[in-house]
């Protein structure tokens, strides 16, 4: 794809301003610095060489030392006054400042004084340079879980040590695992630890707020190629995808809108009365049951019937506990299904 004119202009001006301060620089280093190819740097230098002030006589033009170019070194000899780096535009400053402020508030940065100091000083220098603080965008990420847990994870990431963690799954099962931490990824409301899990003998992603305990060991981590690469990190679609899993269709009242916004679903249908209907693959029945109970006041209908009964059954079982523990006149009076009472008085089934 052709590069946009404004992006190229930015680099052309950047090259001149940089070289003016830096002296001769190799084509390869320039390419790395400006994130482009050596061939593109050559084209940029060719373009700069014929640019200048109106008249465009030799003395009007930006100039380079020709002998250096032949050796692959760019040596600026005339900048035509274009020596000042550009200030950051409002949008650029907003994007940087908002990201840094959000990073500063994450548990992983807060847990480590050295990290906090670096983020803070970068932020201060940036706001000094851009003037008035950019308040147009305000991002706050997840607090990121228990302080001790986050602190152990971030220390292990720095020292490259193995971690021992106690983890509870979304199905409420607790396990102990040894993991080699690769990356702590904070996204929106949750932080995730990408790691090599020795118990699973595979890469795994753990939600940090579900890590009950984390202890740094003194065992160095091993290399596990491919683990925690950014692209593979939190693929929510993949977490929920499951071509062969059964489909469920749920109709919600408008107030449950977030379900359609935050859960990867197969389809959303907006209905004329404001309700909406989602179809999704049931890959994690425990999670879906729990979520539907939470949202129940806004759930109009659930299909298939077996799923609806599963949700209703779990809720009735819980209601019976309130009934059993409370005096007459409580909300529990609404539950009259004898089977539910049986469930409540039967021994703990867990």
């Amino acid at each position: 794809m052709a590069e946009r004119a404004d992006d190229r202009l930015l680099r052309l001006l950047g090259i001149v301003a940089y070289l003016d301060g830096a002296g001769p620089v190799s084509v390869a280093d320039l390419a790395r610095r400006f994130g482009t190819t050596p061939a593109q740097i050559q084209k940029d230098v060719d373009a700069l060489w014929v640019s200048g002030t109106p008249g465009y006589w030799p003395d009007d033009l930006i100039d380079f030392d020709a002998a250096s170019i032949d050796r692959g070194v760019v040596h600026l000899t005339e900048a035509r006054g274009m020596t000042r780096p550009l200030r950051l535009g409002t949008r650029e400053a907003v994007a940087l400042v908002a990201a840094l402020r959000a990073m500063k508030a994450t548990g992983a940065v807060q847990a480590d004084p050295a990290r906090s100091a670096v983020v803070e000083s970068a932020l201060r220098k940036l706001t000094d340079a851009t003037g008035e603080a950019a308040n147009a965008v305000d991002v706050r990420l997840a607090p990121g879980g228990d302080r001790q847990v986050v602190s152990a994870i971030s220390s292990a990431l720095t020292t490259r040590h193995r971690l021992r963690i106690r983890y509870v799954t979304s199905s409420d099962v607790v396990s102990e695992r040894d993991v080699d931490p690769v990356r702590l990824h904070t996204q929106d409301e949750y932080a995730y630890l990408a790691a090599w899990c020795y118990r699973a003998a595979a890469p795994r992603t753990f939600r940090v707020d579900r890590i009950l305990e984390a202890t740094e060991t003194d065992v160095p981590v091993q290399d596990h190629p491919g683990v925690g690469e950014r692209a593979a990190e939190i693929d929510f679609a993949a977490l929920f995808a499951g071509g062969s899993s059964p489909l469920a269709t749920i109709r919600f009242a408008p107030r449950a809108r977030w379900f359609a916004e935050e859960v990867p679903v197969e389809s959303v249908r907006n209905l004329p009365d404001g309700d909406f209907e989602v179809t999704l693959r049931v890959t994690n029945p425990g999670w879906l049951r729990s979520t539907l109970i939470q949202l129940a006041p806004y759930v109009r209908s659930v299909a298939p019937a077996a799923l609806a009964d599963d949700v209703a059954g779990a809720a009735a079982e819980a209601l019976a506990l309130y009934d059993a523990g409370h005096r007459p006149g409580s909300a529990s009076g609404q539950v009259t299904d004898p089977q539910t009472r049986d469930a409540a008085t039967s021994p703990n089934r867990h």
């Binding site: 004119a5 202009l9 930015l10 680099r11 001006l13 950047g14 090259i15 301003a17 301060g21 700069l48 640019s51 002030t53 109106p54 035509r80 274009m82 000042r84 780096p85 550009l86 535009g89 409002t90 994007a95 990201a99 959000a102 992983a108 670096v118 000083s121 970068a122 220098k125 340079a129 965008v137 991002v139 706050r140 879980g145 509870v168 931490p181 990824h185 904070t186 929106d188 408008p254 809108r257 907006n270 209905l271 049951r289 109970i293 939470q294 129940a296 006041p297 077996a306 009964d309 599963d310 949700v311 059954g313 779990a314 009735a316 019976a320 523990g325 609404q334 089977q339 469930a343 867990h350």
Partner: protein
Amino acid sequence: MPIDPPPSAQSAPPSAQAPGLNPAERLLNLVIALVNTNAAMTKQQVRTAVAGYADAPSDEAFERMFERDKDMLRALGIPVVTVGTGGHTDELGYRIDQDAYALPSIDLTPAELGVLSLAAQFWQDKTLQTDINRAMVKLRAAGAGDPSADALAGLAPSVRAVGDAYGPLMEAIEARRAVTFSYRAAYNGAVLTRHVEPWRIAARDGGWYLMCFDRDRQAPRVFRMSRIESRVRITGPAGAYDIPDFETDVMLGKAHGEIRQAVVAVRPERAGALRARAKPVPDGEREAYSERLPDLSDASAGGRAGDQAGWDILEVPYRSLSGMASEAAGYGAALVVLEPEAVRAETLRRLTAAAALGFGTGAQAGAPRG
């Protein structure tokens, strides 16, 4: 807005309008000319003297080209200022004031630059990534060294995509201009056209919110951006309003959520995630809750009345009543809310609604699951 060119011209590459130079090189020559000019250049001088502009085939084409180039430069942070040329004409002159666009010296350490590079990965939206990449090119041009990623090794913070509304909303906030869009209300699902004065956009708990003054309601309002169903159109003139000082969380209603404590009974080994932030109620205080505990005495052999065996009594901090009640309800029969009454009632409301969802076909209470 200039009149659109005929379709054939529109689809042609920009270089077709200026066969001599590509747009980036024309812009470069314009910047150099306007920075180096003694006082200012008139449009006519730009057209005849600056490389690339003489190729404009007509007055209209030149005007369009020059206006577009000025807009592009402004977007890059290089404002072209307009000055009177003085003397006997009222013709306008143009120049670029280097002091107005120069980056003040910013001496970044490798570690700080590494932090900024990480910020570049923070955004998922292409438009924000472009903004950050431009900022990084400028900072690299200012001579900053090579970034070191050591300081934040292994950290990868990011925020979910804002969406297409970001561009126009930022533009509106910057220029204090009103916007209009159609919005799906959460309380009844109706889609209505809104007219608002944007103040700020914020991300909290996985959602993006627009904080603004709603002209239809004549009151401050918060809109969830994922519910904006149309393009955001900038409608009003610039400088149409002031943005007040306010706290994002106060406006979003979070500051009111002080930390409170709920007391819950939890089955041993269950509700692990909730346990992570809970603490046990001291032995001496457990008796106070015995009346509300499910009485399992007739099922557990030899249990005395009000036996609390089989339950851990925990104190759990919470901010949001509905959040706490949802979490509690989601654990089903593994957890019973004991206090406060408001959380208990909200939990019961969810459980009662959920219990009514069933059809009574086969899968019944107590059926194996998991």
